[in-house]
Structure formats: structure tokens, C-alpha cells
């Protein structure tokens, strides 16, 4: 029964090594829970196709012209919606007592969150690549070329990183993953739809336009369109990053406090 006898302890691993293990766990989750991948792939395909062909003609003259405006927007929308997943996963882990084991291990206490980030980055990259591919097939042309696309994805990951904190905090507070999702979407839907992603705000009533103009989702979308087209100004990029920066500055300490509080 050599499993029960004393084994020599390995030297204590580094914080980075701890974080990588949680990243590996996030990758394994993709392998074992293909449903999550299905959701991740189908939702953006559906949104892109439906909006382009149903609304495209009415809103921009033709689906192809609409795609030019809409595609950067749907990328932002997808990243924002997908940021709910890590909060849901966290909520489930906490509910099952798995984090009790992690917290009673002598590891870097923030390593589990690094794992969530790895999962997030993978999700954003997969969904982003799918949407971009569909867009390219349907005639979307990012005028800034490969460099523009890379800059856009860097911005998307930053936006996703910022938004993710909101749901990590929710996940730490709420022990049922479904509630995290419902709460998350009831807050995200108005935020995403009352923006410049799908429709030009000029047609909206003035009170709504006032909101749309200051909605961080709009500034992110404007910046992303600029990056894809090669016309982005530093001001646009800067204002798109304000919200993620503020959220991170506020909620990262809250996350650490909530995690260590108990």
C-alpha cells in the first residue's frame, strides 16, 4: 500500500507554476464539457447570421454594408456576454466545496483566479476567431489588415478581462451558477442593446442617445471599429479602456477581500 506511506515532499512550487496548473484545469474543462463549447460556438454564429441578413438590408442598405459596421460590434457583444462564464464556473466550484480544498493548500491564494483568466482568454479567442471567419466569408473586410485584427483582439481580451471581474465578484457572492447568469444577463442585455453595436444612435430618442453616447459598450465598439479600419485615434482607444481599467481597479481588491474573508 505505497499510496499510504510517507512520500518525500517535492520543493514548494512557484506562484507561476500554481497558476499554470489552474490554467491547465481550464483547458481540461473544454475537453470534458463540450456542451460549453457548443454554446460558445453556436451563439455568435446565430447572432452574426441573423442580424446580418434580417436587419442588414433595412439598416444599412445591404447585408454586406451592414456587416462592415456590425462585425466589430458583435465581437464586443460576444466577449462581454462570455465574461459571465468564469463567474458561473466560480460559483459552481464554491458551491461544491472544491475551493475549500484549494484554500487549505499551501499555494498562491490567487492562483485559482489566474486559471479563470486562462479559460476566459481561450473562450474569447475561440468565439472571436469564429465570428471573424464568418465575417470574412460573408464579405467583411478589416481595412487595417492583420495588424488591425491583432490590435482588435488585444483590445477584446482587455475588455473581457475588465468585465470578467464583475462576474467573478458575483460568483463569489452567489452560490448558484444559474443565478449568476440570470443576474449577469439582466444587467448586460440593456447595456449591450442600448449601445451603438447594432443601430446608429441617431435614430434613437434623445434621452436614450444620451445614455448610448456614454455607455462604455459604445466607446469600446467605436474603438474596435477604428482599429479594424485603421482609423482609431488614441482618444478612442483610451476612452474604450477607461471602463475596464476602473472595474479592475475597483473589483480586483474586492475579489481578493471576498476570497480571503471567510
Amino acid at each position: 500500500m505505497n499510496g499510504l506511506t510517507q512520500v518525500a515532499r517535492p520543493p514548494a512550487p512557484s506562484a507561476l507554476s500554481n497558476a499554470l496548473v489552474f490554467g491547465w484545469r481550464a483547458v481540461l474543462k473544454f475537453k470534458h464539457v463540450p456542451e460549453q463549447l457548443f454554446d460558445l460556438v453556436m451563439t455568435p454564429i446565430m447572432f452574426t447570421l441573423l442580424f446580418t441578413f434580417v436587419f442588414g438590408g433595412a439598416l444599412a442598405g445591404s447585408p454586406r454594408d451592414y456587416l462592415q459596421i456590425f462585425l466589430p460590434g458583435i465581437l464586443v457583444q460576444t466577449v462581454i456576454f462570455n465574461s459571465v462564464y468564469s463567474g458561473m464556473g466560480l460559483s459552481g466550484d464554491l458551491g461544491k466545496g472544491l475551493f475549500d480544498r484549494f484554500r487549505s493548500l499551501p499555494i498562491w491564494s490567487l492562483a485559482p483566479f489566474a486559471g479563470l483568466m486562462v479559460g476566459d482568454v481561450l473562450r474569447h479567442l475561440i468565439a472571436g476567431a469564429i465570428i471573424l471567419t464568418i465575417g470574412l466569408l460573408l464579405g467583411y473586410r478589416p481595412e487595417a489588415g492583420l495588424l488591425g485584427v491583432l490590435a482588435s483582439f488585444a483590445m477584446l481580451l482587455t475588455v473581457g478581462f475588465g468585465m470578467g471581474w464583475i462576474f467573478i465578484v458575483l460568483g463569489l457572492l452567489i452560490r448558484t451558477p444559474m443565478t449568476v447568469m440570470t443576474l449577469g444577463f439582466s444587467f448586460l442585455f440593456p447595456l449591450v442593446f442600448a449601445s451603438n453595436i447594432m443601430v446608429d444612435p441617431k435614430t434613437m430618442p434623445s434621452w436614450l442617445r444620451a445614455f448610448v453616447d456614454v455607455n462604455p459598450v459604445s466607446t469600446m465598439t467605436t474603438a474596435l471599429r477604428g482599429l479594424m479600419a485603421g482609423t482609431a485615434t488614441w482618444e478612442q482607444i483610451g476612452s474604450a479602456l477607461i471602463a475596464p481599467a476602473i472595474i479592475t481597479a475597483l473589483l480586483a481588491p474586492v475579489t481578493i477581500w471576498l476570497y480571503r474573508r471567510q
Binding site: 500500500m1 515532499r9 461544491k96
Partner: protein
């Protein structure tokens, strides 16, 4: 006595949740290498006590040390010495049993092949090799519990905390967890377990602390606890359940102690100081025309000890 002689030492531990004092000033001394049981009903504060000792909850008052490291000032050193198997499986349900163990082995600092070897060793030891590549959500309750305990033994801990290790298991799985716990203790690991089963504490533990409403109400070896409650117990089964009260009153009259009753089987149990007293009391019951289906004289079961200590189960 130096702190080093104890695996776990607690002084006046308190944890409040709002107005509830879940743990209300508990002292504990668990010698190294011992199986020590914390016995109590649901809601007595067992899990809260254990979570504090495992660094998962901050005590509101009091202090404790584990393997000589103070909980408050050296939580990381405490974590390096302990492993905890919670009441609910602390495993990743989506991953396979092997992946769970490899993940934890890597978190302890085993690299690549060494992590996989350690996982395979544990899977073999815990009779899980065949289920190694199955997702944990497809495991039975017993397999899950074995994997959960294996996950606590990646490196041999100084103290292993087991929170209700056999709750919800069938009798066969329960026996196999018991034998595993005994083997572990044989290899020198200190084991602190909570249980609400008297027979579990009796079977496994060298010492038992009985807690109720956040307070320790008794502590000792199983034998000491039984002796403290009364050396002899008279057990009586009444043939006609309708006459149970009458029989209980007669026994109480003759023996002085309070009679414990269990509804199923119309059974009564009461302390009898000598067989002579027991005989006299039985005679009185029989003289009253109450038919007995069974009676015996013996040492109290831990159930009876517990009921005698907490006052629960009195008429």
C-alpha cells in the same frame, strides 16, 4: 507540556454567525498519531470547528495551533501540514479521477511524470485504478469518498481532517473507509474526524470529544465516557407498547435515574448501579403485570452515553 507534543491544540475557540455562537469556547488537545473523534449531532458546530482548524474560517476568539504552528500567525505553515476532506466531495466533477489527483500533485510541486506517478500510486492504493479515466461525476458515493481521501494524501499530512467521512455511504463502503482510516493512523498520521455516528467514534477513535451547541460537554476514551455515564445499563423491551410509560415510571422509581426511551421496538434504557438494583426494578415491572419481550444488562452504547450527556431523549 510543550505545544509540540500536540498535533492540534485549541484554546477557547469561538465562531459566531450573527447571533448564533456556532463554536462557543472549545479547548482541544489532540496528541500526535491519534485518531480523535469529535462527536455531535447536526448543527453542533463540528464542521465549523474543523474549518477553523483547517484555516478556512477565522476564529472570532481564542487561539489554536496545528503541528506547533499558530493558526493566526502562520496559516501557510499550517496548510503545509494538513489535508482536509470535507463533508461534500471537494473534487472537480468534470475532470477524471486521475486528472483531479494529477492537478493536486502539481499544486504540491510534483512535476510532470512525478505527478502522474503519484496519482497512479494513489489510484491503485484506493482501488480506483479501473475508474481512473472516468469523470468524477460518474463515480458512486463510495468511490468519490475514496478519491476525496486519496486527494488529501498527495503528500502525507501531519494532520488529516475528515469531516463526516462516512455520512451517506452504504455499509460496505463505510467499512472500507474505516479500514483505510485505521491503516492511515497506523502509518503515523494524526486524524481528527467528526461524526454523528456513535459506533463510528467507538470503532475508530482513541479519544472522543462530545460537542453540542458549540460547547464541549465531555471528553475521554470511549471507555471513560461509558463509565462516566454509569457502569451498567438495564435495557428493557416492553411487549405491549401501550404500557411503555407505565414501565418507564416503575423503572425510574426503583433506579432513580432518568429513563431513555426509543420509540421503535418500545425499548427503555436506564442506569442500574448493581445487578441487584436491576433485578428489583425488573421484579416491580413484572409484578405490575407488564409483559417484557426482552431485557439485558450491559455497558451503555455510545448512543446512550450521548443522550445521557446532552439530556436529549429524556421523556
Amino acid at each position: 507540556m510543550s505545544a509540540n507534543a500536540s498535533a492540534v491544540q485549541a484554546r477557547g475557540l469561538v465562531k459566531r454567525f450573527g447571533d448564533l455562537r456556532a463554536v462557543d469556547g472549545i479547548d482541544l488537545d489532540v496528541p500526535r498519531g491519534m485518531i480523535f473523534a469529535i462527536l455531535g449531532p447536526n448543527g453542533a458546530g463540528k464542521t465549523t470547528l474543523m474549518r477553523m482548524l483547517a484555516t478556512l474560517l477565522h476564529p472570532d476568539d481564542g487561539s489554536a495551533s496545528v503541528m506547533g504552528h499558530d493558526l493566526a500567525t502562520a496559516p501557510d505553515q499550517v496548510r503545509a501540514e494538513i489535508a482536509m476532506t470535507g463533508q461534500f466531495a471537494s473534487l472537480d466533477e468534470d475532470l477524471t479521477g486521475r486528472e483531479n489527483l494529477v492537478m493536486l500533485a502539481k499544486l504540491w510541486g510534483f512535476r510532470g511524470a512525478a505527478a502522474r506517478d503519484r496519482a497512479d500510486q494513489l489510484l491503485a492504493t484506493f482501488d480506483l485504478a479501473d475508474a481512473a479515466t472516468k469523470q468524477v461525476k460518474d463515480y458512486s458515493g463510495g468511490m468519490r469518498r475514496r478519491l476525496d481521501i486519496a486527494a488529501s494524501l498527495i503528500v502525507t499530512p501531519g494532520v488529516l481532517f475528515l469531516d463526516e467521512p462516512t455520512t451517506g455511504l452504504d455499509p460496505v463502503a463505510r467499512k472500507s473507509v474505516w479500514s483505510m482510516i485505521r491503516q492511515l493512523a497506523g502509518s503515523g498520521v494524526t486524524i481528527l474526524l467528526t461524526t454523528q455516528y456513535m459506533d463510528e467514534a467507538d470503532q475508530l477513535a482513541a479519544r472522543i470529544a462530545v460537542i453540542d451547541h458549540g460547547k464541549k460537554i465531555a471528553e475521554g476514551t470511549p471507555r471513560e465516557l461509558k463509565v462516566a455515564t454509569g457502569s451498567g445499563f438495564l435495557h428493557v423491551a416492553v411487549a405491549d407498547p401501550a404500557r411503555l410509560d407505565e414501565a418507564a415510571a416503575l423503572l425510574e422509581n426503583h433506579l432513580g435515574g432518568s429513563v431513555q426511551r426509543s420509540v421503535e421496538g418500545a425499548r427503555l434504557a436506564v442506569v442500574a448501579k448493581t445487578p441487584h438494583d436491576a433485578n428489583a426494578a425488573l421484579g416491580a415491572v413484572i409484578d405490575a403485570g407488564i409483559e417484557l419481550s426482552d431485557f439485558s444488562m450491559g455497558s451503555p452504547s455510545l448512543d446512550e452515553v450521548f443522550f445521557a450527556l446532552t439530556g436529549k431523549g429524556k421523556p
